[in-house]
Symmetry: none
Subunit: 233 residues, 2 copies
DNA sequence: CAGTGGTCTAGACCACTGG
DNA sequence: CAGTGGTCTAGACCACTGG
């Protein structure tokens, strides 16, 4: 397979950004410099940069340069980590607290509470296949997400969002009244192999959280992923 | 303001497609031909075509050519019509019932109940600018969506999903108990001019509805639109 | 002002589709 | 096979940012 220069360059720059060698806000070398160091034409450098721009990783200003996009939360980890990113951006302190950690016949089952500055805002239950979960400690799952911990290439997750009333456990762990409104998200995370690796349930007090979805009107491709549906009744 | 050739060309091609001069599936003239007829370089033609590809209007196959994308379902109406589509697919009968229709100082305000086989599943309030709404009748809004009725090119909508408890009006119109869980969606629909044209609130009984979102893990482009966020507290 | 990205040209070679 | 899009080069001129 032939190497495609602009993709190689885009991947290389992306890695530098992900690794933190290029921090948010940092200005990249000029197109001319990059063309020189990668030994390609400026057009090829631009094509690479445009790939990254399409992904929201970098942006440009004419007469100024290309720079690493800062705040626009570019997390591959999905909704929850998006929140944690928002929190750290706001200077608040995100925290995970493990409520329970144990195995049933087929899964490692972990229940955690997520807090922001000590305020609990999510109660998360994760079911992880036992063979994958056997290497994880309670400390592991308190300090990192399953996406970070598992040696799995995740492809996508399907989230189903519903509403419910706070039950006794919600009330106790999230410090809300029994019967107050909750957003409930069930997430199924699928690896690039097409295997459903993780299932998790996330319960949020409605007064603390909302879900934002952007729906393009034109052309179905990107629009289909989000949609309300009637549940079987 | 300087003319930007590739945009002019993209706009011209788009118009031909929208007007139907180029039907779905039709193959465009080759890049070389287009370059000749527009009297630009092939690179500029490609740039124009890539703009249209990003919009999902055209696609290409190497060695074959560029062709008009088969109308990927005018599902452009967003989540609600998705539901109505599902209903008709299931052979159920969707219905809209206008609860109130009137003007405040600046808006036409319409409250409707959506039903499936006579079962109410959504209470929708729409705020439409008075100048646009002045031509609409109560019968109009009962028989069609605002997207169908308004002479506006919609670009996208941003939806914010939350949870709440059913209030007295919800209970009466949706036939649920007061205090039962509800999914509440606020939608802001923006035209291609960048103007926020419609604002609407959709209230669904939680036991009847759920929201499905697909989150790709790789590459930011399609992933950013959906995300949970903490509300200001 | 010198330097940057935005646009554009006129070429080139290649991988790929269809007949 | 001739024709197509995909990639890439080495230039060019311009509008724009900052100092």
């Amino acid at each position: 397979m032939r190497e495609i220069r602009y993709r190689t360059i885009a991947a290389d720059l992306r890695r530098q950004i992900v690794d933190g060698d290029l921090a948010p806000g940092a200005v990249l070398p000029s197109e001319a410099e990059l063309a020189g160091s990668y030994d390609v034409s400026r057009v090829t450098v631009r094509k690479a940069l445009e790939v990254l721009r399409d992904d929201g990783v970098v942006a440009s200003r004419q007469g100024y340069g290309w720079f690493v996009e800062g705040d626009t939360v570019r997390q591959s980890l999905g909704a929850l980590s998006t929140i944690e990113g928002q929190l750290t951006d706001q200077g608040r302190v995100p925290e995970r607290r493990v409520v329970s950690f144990g195995f049933d016949r087929e899964h490692l089952v972990v229940v955690r509470v997520n807090l922001a500055d000590g305020l609990p805002f999510a109660l998360v239950t994760v079911w992880c296949p036992a063979d994958l979960g056997s290497s994880l400690s309670r400390d592991d799952v308190e300090s990192a997400t399953f996406y970070e911990l598992l040696p799995v290439d995740f492809d996508h997750a399907t989230q189903t969002i519903g509403a419910a009333l706070a039950d006794d456990r919600d009330a106790e762990l999230l410090e809300v009244p029994v019967g107050s409104p909750m957003l409930v998200v069930e997430r199924r995370s699928v690896s690039t192999d097409g295997v459903e690796v993780l299932r998790s349930e996330h319960r949020f007090p409605a007064h603390l959280t909302e879900f934002v979805v952007d729906l393009p009107f034109q052309e179905g491709a990107e629009l289909s992923p989000a949609g309300l549906r009637l549940v079987q009744s």
